[in-house]
């Protein structure tokens, strides 16, 4: 009897082992290869996606660099325009100031000239008035002081020259 049990056991064991092997082979054939293919494809797909992402990232970085460079160039241009505008404005202001100062100096000079002219005119006028007054007074004084003796002397002096002609 024991021999029978052992051979049944061995038989079961062997059968089980065979079942497992067959099952393994079946599963391998039906599932393992497809799954392996699927995983490989998936891995390839993921790898491609990673590659594409890296390329896109590189492209984006390149575009960003170009944009930064362009922005900087534009900024520099704008700065240059601003600097030029400031320089021009300073130059214009300086010119305006110079012209204003020249005009002011000319106005002052003309005003001084006019004032001097007026002063001379006033002094000349006063001198004329004083002279006229002096002569008026002289006429009045002489009118009172001249007598016939003086007239006689004038007449005699004239006649002496008249007869000498």
């Amino acid at each position: 009897m024991e021999g029978l049990v052992l051979s049944d056991l061995a038989r079961d064991l062997i059968l089980n082992i065979l079942n497992i092997i067959i099952l393994f082979l079946i599963v391998r054939k039906l599932a393992y290869q497809p799954v392996k293919k699927f995983l490989a494809a998936r891995q390839a797909r993921v790898a491609k996606e990673l590659e594409d992402a890296a390329a896109a990232k590189a492209e984006a970085e390149q575009a960003k660099e170009q944009l930064d460079s362009l922005t900087q160039a534009q900024q520099e241009k704008a700065d240059a325009v601003i600097r030029e505008a400031e320089r021009e404005a300073r130059e214009n202001a300086r010119e305006i100031m110079e012209n204003a100062q020249k005009d002011a100096a000319e106005i002052r000079r003309k005003a001084a000239e006019e004032a001097e002219k007026e002063k001379r005119k006033t002094i000349a006028g006063m001198q004329d008035d004083i002279t006229a007054l002096a002569f008026d007074i002289s006429e009045k004084v002489l009118g009172r002081e001249i007598n016939d003796e003086d007239n006689r002397r004038i007449a005699q002096a004239f006649l002496a020259d008249y007869h000498a002609e």
Binding site: T131, I146, N151, I154, Y162
Partner: protein, 71 residues
């Protein structure tokens, strides 16, 4: 006969006027004398003989001095 026009100041007497007429007569011969008294002359006289004017008046001399001072 020449005409002599003599303008005199008020202060010139008849005697001095006659002296003047005598003086002109000596040079011109007979002449027709006209006497005008002009107080503005102040002193002396102005005589006009044949278009020639002899001015010894004080007023003219003062005017001449005034003119020179202005210049």
């Amino acid at each position: 006969m020449q005409t002599v026009i003599i303008k005199t100041a008020e202060s010139l007497s008849e005697e001095t006027y006659r002296l003047l007429c005598e003086g002109f007569r000596k040079k011109l011969g007979e002449a027709d004398f006209q006497h005008i008294v002009d107080p503005t002359l102040i002193g002396g006289f102005i005589a006009e003989v044949g278009g020639v004017v002899y001015d010894t008046s004080i007023s003219s001399q003062l005017a001449e001095m005034q003119k020179r001072i202005k210049e």
